[in-house]
């Protein structure tokens, strides 16, 4: 059983992967900007309140950076591979 008349189906079946790639890149880019904003906010909060390292503040900061780098890598992978 398959549903045919959707726009997505036509896009995929006609083989125009470029649209999908473009949509993915836009989504990833917007998401990367959002995460960058979040990381900036965290840095700003760390200047407002100084928590000790054992409280997990360092973990969150490192995680924010790693997470941003992961999204950037996925963005690059999408450009290169797909």
């Amino acid at each position: 059983m398959s549903l045919d008349p959707t726009i997505l189906t036509t896009i995929f079946k006609t083989g125009s992967i470029a649209y999908v790639k473009l949509a993915l890149l836009i989504l990833l880019g917007l998401y990367a900007i959002f995460i960058f904003m979040l990381a900036t906010k965290i840095r700003s909060l760390n200047r407002t309140v100084f928590l000790p390292n054992e409280s997990g503040e360092g973990i969150l900061r490192t995680f924010a950076v790693l997470y941003f780098l992961t999204i950037l890598s996925l963005f690059i992978i999408t450009i290169v591979i797909v």
Binding site: M1, S2, L3, T6, L8, T9, F12, K13, I17, V20, K21, L24, L27, L28, Y31, I35, M37, L38, K41, I42, S44, L45, R47, T48, V49, F50, L51, P52, E54, S55, G56, E57, I59, L60, F63, A64, Y67, T70, I71, L74, I77, T78, I81, V82
Partner: protein, 213 residues
């Protein structure tokens, strides 16, 4: 001539003076961990506008149990792709077919969003901090991941402290809202969903009493 200093010098083991201190003066500083939601006399924490003679008496965060909804949502989100795949395979249903590379990247993107959801919720909880010092109350809010709101109120300005525990969950897990009414403006300063609201309100009442006395 009497020999004053030579007699029984070896046997005189004078008892060590006992350090007597009242409980209010003796403070044991406690460390803060990742999941600390309530800490009296926290160690190693300070804030930007803290004065030299200002000590933090109470460190507060939302009770950890308030994180349950997003933790459950995360677990559900983790299993959704597998569930959809299982349903599609078992019913032999296909909406559209994607190349392997695109489906992998889409799946990767989906899980990155799930991790982002966890990260956003965790950081929102982690940075919603309430501090009570010997001079003021400080409420740091990280609202909707976009707004940072820092509110302070000096203790002499606070009229009274009250708490509310509404509903079964708040009574069962012992958390609630602590409200501080500010005398001059009539505004209310709220520490939301903090653990042990009775103790928090009690400590605040004592501090307000000390300030007014």
């Amino acid at each position: 001539m009497p020999d004053i200093f030579s007699k029984n010098q070896l046997n005189t083991t004078a008892p060590q003076p006992k350090i007597v201190s009242t409980t209010s003066e003796q403070t044991v500083l406690k460390p803060i961990h990742l999941f600390t939601t309530y800490c009296q006399n926290p160690r190693g924490i300070s804030f930007a506008e803290q004065e030299n003679d200002e000590t933090i008496i109470l460190f507060l965060r939302r009770d950890f149990i308030t994180n349950t909804p997003w933790i459950i949502a995360t677990v559900a989100l983790i299993f959704i792709p597998s569930l959809i795949r299982f349903i599609f395979v078992s019913t032999n249903f296909s909406l559209f077919s994607l190349p392997e590379t695109i489906s992998l990247i889409l799946l990767g993107f989906y899980y990155i969003i799930v991790v982002g959801f966890v990260f956003a919720n965790l950081s929102s909880w982690f940075y919603n901090i309430g501090l009570i010092t010997n001079k003021r109350g400080v409420d740091i809010d990280f609202i909707n991941l976009a707004t940072i709101n820092v509110a302070t109120s000096s203790l002499p300005d606070i009229k009274d402290a009250e708490y509310t525990q509404a509903g079964f969950a708040q009574s069962f897990f012992d958390y609630g809202d602590v409200r501080l009414r500010i005398e001059a403006t009539g505004e209310v300063f709220v520490f939301e969903k903090v653990p042990r609201p009775t103790e928090v309100a009690g400590i605040l009442s004592k501090l307000i009493g000390r300030q007014t006395a």
